[in-house]
Symmetry: C2
Subunit: 198 residues, 2 copies
């Protein structure tokens, strides 16, 4: 199934090509339409989602963490799995998808998963979704929705709303400061012969 | 300085109270105004931002990773720092803020940093900002903006735009699937006597 997606996702093959695609809005619209048509044609494999759901349920039953499990798949094979470990590992970033991405990257020896699909028991929160973008994964299948998660007390939906707001409109105080000094780090990056882009 | 912020951020003290605050929009508006007034009164400490910027620049010069550094501060003391390690650790989630949050949680033996302030050399990407929300940090100071990061080739701004869109409008194909089966994990959570909320 994954092979059907190859080459389709410009966002999955580096930001530059995606940014280029913004240059012509007509082209972008056609591209979006093509992506969505392809998405509708996808036939997710039951076993991978069933694994993600089982991991989530077992995680609760064993008292290890929240009801979330994820599986990273490449070419019809499981590369790695992840479970929510926030409270047991004292790591607020140890959500199932983030853990699965970290594990998959270790297995593949790469910081990119651009030929991988994520199966997750719940719609990714903004942290996990952005991690999926950074890892350049090519598609996501999810079981429960963010709205479902809100029903049992998780803040996914709330954080999506917060992230949509401008910095000034968020409840979290955010302030830019020392921007002139901060540019020195970006300037160093621009000049560095050692930089590896990601 | 951090003490001035105590008790101000409902989002920093658990999602429930924040959700409750949405019940009355007038109350929420007043609360937002109060938060923003407080934010404008904050006087960030130069040394913490200077440290974050130095970490970012050193990270590039030493060839360890991207131009990003972060510092987690509590009660005027540095709890932990983080640098971008995406390419050297093969971990697309190893952004400076995420690394700093993980380190701070280890130091404090907690999955919450609700009395902590984050100083970061660049405006957090959506992954890092959501991690800051999950960790319940109470404020963020940043040097470079997401727009600045876009100028030197980083996708922060692009991913913010993607996250604002509905699932159907994103370039990343996302599809809900097996939602009925997935609810079993949430049902287990609702019934579990062992659950620790976060």
């Amino acid at each position: 199934m994954e092979d059907d997606l190859t080459g389709k996702l410009t966002v999955g093959h580096g930001g530059q090509s995606y940014q280029d695609s913004h240059a012509e809005s007509g082209q972008k619209e056609r591209q979006n339409q093509m992506v969505q048509e392809k998405a509708q044609q996808m036939t997710p494999e039951t076993q991978f989602m069933a694994t993600a759901i089982s991991l989530a349920t077992e995680n609760v039953v064993s008292g290890r963490g929240g009801p979330f499990g994820a599986v990273v798949v490449r070419g019809g094979e499981v590369v790695a799995t992840g479970i929510n470990q926030v409270t047991t590992s004292n790591d607020p970033t140890a959500h199932a998808e983030v853990v699965a991405i970290r594990n998959a990257c270790k297995v593949l020896g790469s910081f990119k998963l651009d030929d991988c699909v994520v199966y997750t028991s719940c719609e990714p929160c903004p942290m996990c979704l952005a991690a999926i973008y950074w890892a350049r994964c090519k598609a996501v299948f999810y079981g429960n929705s963010a709205a479902d998660a809100a029903k049992i007390g998780f803040d996914d939906q709330l954080f999506y709303e917060e992230l949509k707001r401008s910095n000034a409109d968020r409840e979290l105080p955010m302030m830019q400061w020392m921007s002139q000094e901060a540019w020195e780090s970006f300037s160093a990056w621009e000049k560095s012969p050692m930089r590896i882009e990601y």
